[in-house]
Symmetry: C2
Subunit: 513 residues, 2 copies
């Protein structure tokens, strides 16, 4: 690696480049011309013993970057950690050394633990460009990693971040692999399990491709962005919490890789296993229940695939000292009635309040999951978890725990009304609801504005097997803004997401619950 | 796809983002907040029936992008083709439809011609982000494409660009797959073949990862950036030219893919075949000679691999109507003496001038290649090409043709002196030069400043098999700038690139020449 003698003034450019470091140099700047950076896409910025890698953008406007300056995007600037105006030098950067391992993976080789550690370390330190991350993800996608490599990857991701320590022998968590709208069981499982006295410090992400995540929905009721100290305090007193996980640096490599994986729409089992398990272990979990829904429009469509995935979770979890159970559940349709933060929060509160209108499928699924989590308790007899969970819910203790957690996190002061622009979507014919497309319903809710507009979404009136008459409403669309309303409606009109047929047309499933 | 009603003023941002469209929106801009772009990395910018895709960067500085404006990077702005201040709207963009095919390729499926056409069309129209291109390149790399898929890819790349038409039945070209420093045979083959009267309109790239390309070296002697009309004019009169190929839009998808492939350092045979053949067919070639050098530090290291690659070239070339011949040549060491534009131009001119000091390996290789090209002429008897080429060279007709081509392209008015900072690198022991590392020598020359500083590079005094005494100079380093000199020298001191051993240590090779 060579270092230039020319020196530049550091400038922070107010540009947010989504987890990719970008450096900006003026085209007429001396270093740029002398060093032949044209064909290079990557430079190393050094000062005061610190160095970061960045992708180079060339600037032709001295108002953006003066000739004697080096601009850095916001995250790159923060990462370098120096003040504006300090002197920096800029160098040709070789690709990170661990790219050799990525190239070996591309060529079909098996990588060892050291290689995965090196790759994840470099990703965590923002030494990879997005295209290098994409290359790694594709090369290690689908059938390209064996289960030991998944273990290595998980361990490397875990080792690269902070790790919470609750100083208790049993720290429970549950996680669903996603893909089913309205599936807000965590907001029921946490208060039930915490009311039992088991520690369940839940951190969740916000929705990225779905219309609502647990953090988005909980935020309708309470504050979710608290620091680690506040989290510890709440969990010590309440035995549980429901917070946004982004404030802790748990598996930071995962956050960076997700920023590439999601826009690419690639979703490999190995990455999923490593992502989920590294996050949960980093959050200090000792016992984890994983929910794999299957159905024609779920992430996993066949039992065979679900069982394969279950074994991968078990293999990696066992080797990392995580007590792990997997349940395969019915993913043929959305869970509950609401899709979108406000509507899903309403469903959750109805179940907690034992409201006769509460969606029973959400209640049943949450009770079964909570029951399985409770059975992690050595004092709970196998098979007794469900009835303990039901007792906690029916007695109002779950509701009381939820209210205590909300109070501890801080009640939401902002009011989130339901979207005022509404339209009921009618059944096109008489018959029975024989299919509901999870993907399409999620898309309609997103077009309507969820999760950004918390009151936007879809309220389902009919579920699988319900008889309907022509013209009877299947669901109600809610939006806040006219543009969103119009475009969501256009999508509903293109396809409602519902299939009306006969009872016998409903896809059958053989799952635990 | 939904469209917003909010409208923004188009602004051209003076930022060059290397063939990736980038759009800039202020974080407090209404559209940005209302549309929930946070997690999206891609937007569609529309106005007046035109639309482009761009990656979104969020700006916090209203001096860079005001709240009511949408900024575009230079290439994106040019592509949209509207004036500053015009009203544009910005939408959520779905990934390009052809990404479905990329995902199928990632999953191991075989793609058909239509899928490759769709992918290449979207890449050509800048609808792919760099990470999407990386995903495609990795998924279609190494052993992931069969030869029909390579054919489909080549045809798709060819169809996506302009195609030159010379209106003659025989348009010759030669191409080396690269990796051997100093291998400037094209600058000899073109004048020899053109002097014979055969049409050879050569376009070349500039060096990207090597210390000199044909265009960089020719530029020491003549102008190389001419438009298509000028090129036609020169070729009609001189029967040949040596120009930079970047001005013509020949296989534009290739240029875009190379901008991802090179920084990633990935190099798959399928991509190489498609890249070379699509460029040559687009340049109007009907007859093509391909040079595959093999050696321990060449791109191709074993005869088996070279033959496999040869068959791929033949398979695809035959099906696209290209008369194609492949020669496998000695790639064990650099060709000629100089490495770097000025030094390589000196070698070429010495050969053309029949200078007794001219490097004989360069002369012999060029004569053999030219001979094979001449044999594309139906009037040349098989096996007679070499002696015709030699006659053209020895008689001075090749030199006269070179001078005519230089005059036609326009003599170089700038003087490029040899780098004044020099150092002779001595042999560490008595013995015989038993190996020269192509990669390391190229790297030293690049560190010294080549190809940007045309006078920088390495001048070899010893070649394979030459006896040396301890302390005798192996080569001379040339640099123009002290920083470059220092760092190139450090690299030489780390490893000279030469191995001194015995005659029997020299790697053996069985190649055509």
């Amino acid at each position: 690696m060579k270092t230039t003698e020319a020196r530049l003034k550091l400038t922070r450019l107010g540009i947010d480049t989504y987890r990719e470091n970008v450096a900006y140099l003026h085209r007429d700047c001396e270093v740029y011309r002398a060093e032949g950076f044209q064909a290079l896409s990557k430079v190393e910025v050094c000062a005061d013993g610190r160095r970061i890698l960045a992708v180079l953008n060339v600037v032709d406007d001295a108002d953006i970057v003066p000739l004697d300056a080096l601009g850095l995007s916001e995250e790159a600037f923060d990462q370098l950690g120096l003040a504006e105006g300090e002197t920096v030098s800029v160098d040709h950067a070789e690709p990170p050394v661990s790219m050799d391992a990525v190239r070996r993976k591309i060529a079909g080789e098996r990588l060892d633990q050291a290689a995965f550690h090196a790759i994840i370390q470099d990703i965590t330190e923002s030494r990879y460009s997005k295209m290098e991350i994409a290359a790694f993800l594709v090369a290690s996608g689908q059938n390209d990693m064996d289960r030991d490599e998944m273990l290595y990857l998980t361990r490397a991701m875990l080792d690269a971040g902070e790790r919470l320590d609750w100083d208790e022998p049993l720290v429970a968590d549950k996680h669903c692999i996603g893909g089913i709208p309205g599936n807000r069981t965590s907001m029921l499982v946490v208060p039930i399990v915490a009311a039992h006295g088991m520690l369940i410090p839940k951190t969740s992400s916000r929705a990225i491709t779905s219309p609502a995540g647990t953090a988005d929905t909980m935020e309708v009721l309470a504050k979710v962005e608290l620091d680690i100290a506040a989290m510890h305090d709440i969990v010590r007193k309440q035995r549980g919490c429901m917070l946004w996980g982004g404030t802790a640096r748990l598996s930071p490599a995962d956050d960076i890789m997700i920023s590439v994986e999601r826009p690419l729409g690639i979703d490999s089992q190995g990455q999923m296993v490593a992502s989920i398990l590294s996050k949960k272990l980093a959050a200090g979990s000792t016992h984890l229940l994983i929910d794999i829904p299957i159905g024609p429009t779920a992430k996993i469509r066949r039992m065979r695939e679900a069982q394969h995935l279950r074994k991968l979770f078990e293999y990696v979890g066992d080797r990392l000292g995580l007590q792990l159970e997997v349940v395969i559940t019915d993913g043929r349709q959305p869970i509950g009635r609401g899709i979108g933060p406000v509507l899903e929060a309403r469903d959750v509160m109805q179940v907690l309040q034992n409201d006769p209108e509460a969606p029973n499928d959400l209640r049943q699924k949450a009770l079964r999951l909570a029951g399985r989590v409770l059975e992690f308790d050595p004092d709970v007899r196998g098979g007794h978890g469900y009835s303990i969970a039901r007792d906690i819910l029916d007695s109002g203790r779950a509701l009381a725990k939820m209210q205590a957690i909300i109070a501890a996190q801080g009640e939401q002061t902002r009011d989130y009304p339901l979207g005022k622009l509404t339209r009921d979507i009618p059944a096109p014919a008489d018959g029975v609801v024989s299919a509901i497309d999870n993907l399409h319903m999620a898309r309609i809710a997103r077009f309507a504005g969820a999760p950004m507009d918390k009151g936007a979404g879809v309220d389902l009136f009919k579920k699988l097997g319900d008889p309907v008459e022509k013209g009877e409403p299947l669901y109600r669309l809610h939006a806040e803004f006219p543009a969103d309303y119009k475009f969501a409606l256009a999508l509903c009109e293109q396809h409602s997401g519902y299939t009306i047929g006969a009872q016998g047309d409903i896809a059958r499933t053989l799952v635990e619950f």
